[in-house]
Symmetry: C2
Subunit: 394 residues, 2 copies
Amino acid sequence: MTASTTQGRDPASLRRHNLRTLLRHLHLQGPTSRAELGEVTGLTRSAIADLVGELTTRGLVLEEGAGQPHTQRGRPPLIVSPRDESAYVLAVVVDVDTIGIGRVGLGGTILEEAETQHEHVSGDPTRSLDQLTGLVQEWLESTETSPVAIGVAVPGIVRARDGLIARAPNLGWRNLSLGDELRHRTGLSLPIVIGNEAGLAALAEHRRGAGREYSDLVYVSAGVGLGGGIITGDRLLTGHTGYGGEVGHMITHPGGRYCHCGGRGCWETEVGADALLRHAGVHDPADRHAALDALFVGADQAETPALEAFRALCTPVATGLANLINIFEPERIILGGLLRSLIRHAGDELRTALDDLRGLPELDVDLQPAQLGEHGRLLGAAEAAVNSFLARLD
Amino acid sequence: MTASTTQGRDPASLRRHNLRTLLRHLHLQGPTSRAELGEVTGLTRSAIADLVGELTTRGLVLEEGAGQPHTQRGRPPLIVSPRDESAYVLAVVVDVDTIGIGRVGLGGTILEEAETQHEHVSGDPTRSLDQLTGLVQEWLESTETSPVAIGVAVPGIVRARDGLIARAPNLGWRNLSLGDELRHRTGLSLPIVIGNEAGLAALAEHRRGAGREYSDLVYVSAGVGLGGGIITGDRLLTGHTGYGGEVGHMITHPGGRYCHCGGRGCWETEVGADALLRHAGVHDPADRHAALDALFVGADQAETPALEAFRALCTPVATGLANLINIFEPERIILGGLLRSLIRHAGDELRTALDDLRGLPELDVDLQPAQLGEHGRLLGAAEAAVNSFLARLD
């Protein structure tokens, strides 16, 4: 995170690089004094003053006295903060049944958010595109300042290069250029970045949740499907094209149930919502959400059948986690969605199952519930949007 | 790979950084003209001349005319090359039955190598340490110039921070500080770096073998055990402590055979040498090496039982590979050891098995045999030694 220059490179590109470094620091670390900015970037006082001046002029940061009383010996330090009310991104979470949308300021504060029913028609994204376009336009019109970028989290595999959604199985989407479609329909020239919801939630937990200060993390969240995001050496694992991190399709039960992906015995089929319901004796419920809610209520009230269902999930969950531990040796595993409830209702059983399956005791690991909960995906979409804005900052 | 400076940082650290960058480029890319060095580093002509002069004085590079005829218009370009005869590392490969050792020049040329019987006593590393110390001393005395560093590949999990071998199951070693022991016994003050053999072989394939030009790779090699090394975004995956990348202990057959790690149904138990022999009807052979050799000869002569044994390995091999594809989305999978033979004798069956198991067709991948063969680990140990030398170059 040092501001740097390259001998023989032009001053404009150096300045751009330093602006981005400064703003990224403020976004991630929050209000910082000029002196501290100098320390972390290695830039001189006058360079910091110049760059902060530029960011202030652009409305991206503001500078204030720290509020400490004046002393005899000099002025109070000037504190630089991201100006989140005017420098914000629009974050969107597309789920099967809902669309979440929010304004997230530089610095990671959710300024405003809402959720609406997703009126989607499986296999045909037209209705969804109309709805998303309308929502984005409505939000843009509701505020005086425009966002600096838009980030969208989707339940699908996404090509990193251009945001193409190669496949979103639960929505029935294939090869959808969601970013291009939104740009075309809204006429916006903002950066619009699309990402896999679990990868983005992992990014958010790493930057602002249970994964802060950890460089090697595995995030796994189960609902109807099972998604994962892996941080290795402080970077989100994307794979070559962006389709990596599909931990839900590890085969943990060879020859097991068919998965919607076409494979058999994928981890997702063993530990997702349907698996939990099966363990509670509920097969093909008419209303899956209602059945899950009833199960959660039962577990909260310590009813035996509900607790037994969670306990039955421990070994299949531990099987996949053991694999991920052997492969990634993370410091911490963060569990979201119904796996978060699993820690609560059967945490000891889960840890025991994991100890029984893991051969290498050197690979110790800490299991933690996700901290950002339902906001993980929204904050992750915001982080992706900020990344994209910073990369283009000129 | 650009040489860079940090505003406000001292010139000595800048110079050190630039020296390392230049030498790393020559090591990886081979002979390069001064002009090209200027282009790739962004440094001025005079800075390049100065740095090359310094590296020449230290005996690390040499500079020659390109051998092209003089023209009317100026001198032939000066080509800078790593001086591999005098700037080399000692690379050591510790295996259960053998110890390989070689001198590898900057630039990756094996200058000299030999293999000897490893006189090891399981569980007690003393005899091995005596032998390794003797071998290293013998090699140091046999040449006039000293190596710049020593790299050692071991079949075990190694802590990145200090090279502690936490566990080497097939040697029966636990918590062995091999680097410290060698340093102490030889009295050398050179950097001595220890690494997991499969991780190092992956590094070598990435830099000098079947993985050149690929940023996302999975390398898997099977013998008695099964090791893997993963390159993601051009970096070797190590995990938090260095114990990551243990793909051999993915559970691909829950409730299956016990593995030496204490787990059950690890991939290693399903696809290693013993599994191959079992498929050929050979159980607990008195001489495993002889039995394997016979099997390989049989397969080369297209004998049905040997070919059937390879074919039977395809689905278990593909199960683990499918998982790694879903997780890492590599561009290429490189197969070493007996999996290299598997491609040769049952490549079509392996690809078919993989297609049957993989649900996500977007995750396309290319299977290739390892290119460096038995030299992969030696060259990998050399790369680790060079990294360590470069990191300390002052």
